[in-house]
């Protein structure tokens, strides 16, 4: 029990194992590829008596999240998992969960959206849900999935935060790839994550009305308070990550730097593509090219100040999105990074590279091509295109 074990787990199993150790009271979920392994494992844990939780096999993701809302409002530690269409079906309830300030934790195994039907990885699902008031954490590998699933409960339930958290990992690339994961002992998790305490649960002794009508005379203040809470949560998230690092010998941050010393251009990545990009950076560095990498872990709330700090002094940044926001400037991450930097006096050129759509591999060569383009932009000090789609057959695209 006490010793830390290294277990062979894929990303989904890592999430399920972490959730088990977090001792949720209620799990409500619906199967969807590539998340299904999570709910299968959790069902096993419950059926084998290893996890004392109510498991609701909901008849849809909409109902799964609705049940989580009911359960969380009662004061239960509540968990769900989904992907793709499932998250899209939940969309309406996502806003309700965050506005109710319910600390629900949801794993998302990122997957492309229909149509055409595609079960493979991209981030159209969670990026499309970026304005729903949930905290969004993106993970690179199974170890991070494990560590941040545990931290997500702590973040969500912190009374300074009280917001639901999406803890995301790329479908198949992470969800179905088995790695060695250093797990914490149950008692270590217990000490890091105390039982949930509630503020205003549904309680007959102290009846509260949750989910009232908010007329124009009150609605803006309620939304403003939600915005303030979400922005302020960045500080608490940093504190919790630091505590986790110190307690368990990890080294996480909300933006992670790789080979940034002396870098003139940088790749800004999110999720599992970061690993491949790091290999590309190593190759380029070996050739003496001044390139580094920044991995964004926290997309909501967007750590605007940290981004400005991390990107200042660079000549060009390539933002790797794993989705397209149709008809604009590539992906949401590109647009938001550009917006964050706009008011800086000395700012790098920022170009978007939507890549790896619908499970198309992003390879080292792609990142090398992107970097070469960034070096050209840096040299000429001119940005000619807002974005180029990567790994795609088509005019103007960087080919597969």
């Amino acid at each position: 029990m006490m010793a830390r074990k290294v277990l062979a787990l894929n990303g989904d199993e890592a999430a399920a194992y972490a959730v088990k150790q977090c001792k949720p009271d209620v799990i409500a979920a619906y199967p969807i590829t590539p998340q299904t392994i999570i709910v299968e494992r959790l069902s096993d844990f419950v059926a084998d008596g290893e996890l004392d939780a109510e498991f609701i096999s909901a008849e849809s993701e909409h109902s799964a999240l609705s049940a989580c809302i009911g359960a969380s409002a009662m004061g239960a530690r509540t968990y769900t998992a989904t992907a793709s269409q499932g998250l899209a079906l939940m969309y309406e309830m996502l806003f309700v969960a965050s506005s109710f300030r319910l600390p629900i934790v949801m794993s998302v195994a990122n997957r492309a959206l229909n149509s055409p039907l595609n079960i493979w990885n991209d981030m159209s699902d969670t990026m499309g849900a970026r304005d729903c008031g949930w905290i969004q954490i993106y993970n690179e590998n199974a170890q991070e999935v494990y560590d941040f699933t545990i931290q997500s409960f702590r973040i969500a339930e912190d009374h300074r935060v009280l917001l639901p958290v999406m803890v995301c990992h790329d479908g198949f690339v992470v969800s179905h790839s088995t790695e060695g994961v250093e797990t914490l002992s149950d008692s270590e998790v217990d000490s890091f994550l105390p039982p949930r305490t509630t503020v205003y649960p549904l309680d007959v002794e102290n009846p509260v009305t949750i989910g009232c009508v908010g007329v124009p005379e009150y609605y803006p203040e309620i939304k403003y308070q939600q915005e303030v809470a979400t922005k302020k949560s960045i500080q608490t998230i940093k504190e919790i990550i630091n505590e986790f690092n110190e307690s368990f010998g990890r080294n996480y941050d909300i933006i992670e730097k790789y080979q940034m010393d002396g870098a003139e251009v940088a790749l800004l990545t999110i999720g599992s593509a970061s690993g491949t990009a790091k290999d590309a950076v190593d190759e380029m560095r070996a050739e003496g090219k001044p390139v580094g990498l920044l991995k964004l872990r926290l997309f909501r709330p967007l750590p605007v100040e940290d981004l400005r700090k991390a990107l200042s002094g660079l000549k060009a940044v390539g933002v790797i999105d794993r989705h397209i926001s149709f008809g604009s400037m590539g992906g949401a991450l590109n647009m938001e990074v550009r917006a964050a930097l706009y008011e800086m006096r000395e700012r790098p050129h920022v170009m978007g590279f939507p890549a790896g759509l619908g499970g198309r591999d992003i390879r080292v060569e792609h990142f090398i091509k992107i970097t070469e383009e960034l070096l050209r932009i840096a040299e000429r000090d001119v940005l000619e295109e807002d974005y180029r789609v990567v790994g795609c057959r088509g005019p103007g695209c960087i080919g597969p």
Binding site: D25, V26, A28, D52, A53, E54, I56, S57, A58, E59, S60, H62, S63, A64, S66, A67, C68, I69, G70, A71, S72, A73, M74, G75, A76, T78, E92, M93, V96, F100, P195, L202, D203, V204, P207, V208, T209, I210, G211, C212, V213, G214, V215, Y218, I222
Partner: protein
């Protein structure tokens, strides 16, 4: 049990903003009178929800939650599951009855899936559907509960099409098909029948379902003082028979001494006005009568068939 012996508590306080003569207000008050202790209420988006909770006011003296329109069954399931877990783990002391409240739109139509899922999974809650036969909250649009020929703003009595052309969905059959321990229809016009059924619903070992017909003066185009009378006429014409299904066994709880023609129910209501003016549409009225007779026969047969 007598009317005078009902508890004095008012879990739904006065001063709410439901219309004068609203059947929902009367019905929910009666429903809540059947509880000895306050239930935890999960409410769907509806007239009842908007009229009782305009922030910063609330009419509810019970814990009450309204997340959205179509998910009341699922929300109640979550509340129930949380209670089970919290009591088992010693973090909650006593079981509180979970009461789901939803209108006909939130039950017959958009909420049918979440209700069905929750019934199939066997969560222990009482689900009350208060039907006023249309989407009254958005201004009288047809729903699966709207009766044949009724005028609504989306089934207008036009020059060619005389109101809704389809029959009302038989929700009770759908609910009963889930083999839940208890299901019943109630009317605020028969308060003691309602009390008896609610007591059974609360005590049922598993999900229970109550369908309440709640006349709507705005949507039915009737004066507020006719609400209770119309509830009575719905039962006496067998447009809305009062019955219960207890562990599969049907029992008609209110057999009209003299079954009245449907016209008695239709004529006072403005939503059926086009059946009587400018000329009487005997064809439609007769079709409704035949349909009601058939359904009444059917339910009597079911009562015989399932009797032990």
């Amino acid at each position: 049990m007598a009317l005078k012996s009902l508890p004095l508590h008012e879990y739904l306080s006065s001063g709410h903003r439901l219309c004068a003569g609203c059947g929902e207000g009367v019905t929910i008050r009666q429903i809540l009178k059947s509880f000895d202790e306050p239930p935890i209420i999960c409410n769907a988006t509806s007239c009842l929800e908007v009229s009782t909770t305009p922030f910063p006011y609330t009419s509810w003296r019970t814990p009450w939650i309204h997340p959205a329109f179509e998910c009341t069954g699922a929300v109640a399931a979550g509340v129930e599951a949380a209670q089970k877990a919290l009591i088992r783990k010693g973090r909650k002391k006593k079981w509180d009855v979970v009461l789901a409240l939803a209108g006909d739109g939130g039950t017959y139509d958009i909420g049918l899936q979440s209700l069905s899922g929750a019934l199939e999974r066997g969560h222990k809650f009482v689900y009350v559907c208060y039907t006023n036969d249309a989407y009254m909250n958005t201004g009288i649009q047809r729903s699966g509960a709207t009766p044949r020929a009724a005028w609504t703003t989306t089934s207008p009595a036009g020059k060619v099409i005389p109101g809704k052309t389809e029959w009302q969905k038989d929700l009770m059959k759908i609910v009963v098909a889930h083999d839940i321990p208890y299901a019943a229809t109630v009317s605020p016009s028969y308060p003691m029948d309602l009390q008896r059924k609610m007591k059974k619903a609360i005590q049922a070992d598993g999900p229970s379902f109550i369908l309440a017909l709640t006349p709507c003066p705005r949507g039915w185009r009737t004066p507020p003082y006719l609400t209770i009378e119309l509830g009575r006429l719905a039962v006496q014409t067998c447009m809305f028979p009062l019955y219960e299904v207890e562990n599969g066994q049907y029992k008609i709880t209110m057999k009209p001494k003299r079954k009245l023609p449907v016209e008695y129910y239709l004529r006072p209501q403005g939503r059926f006005r086009h059946l009587f003016t400018p000329k009487t549409r005997h064809d439609i009225i007769n079709a409704i009568q035949a349909y009601v007779d058939k359904k009444w026969q059917e339910i009597q047969k079911l009562e015989q068939l399932t009797q032990q």
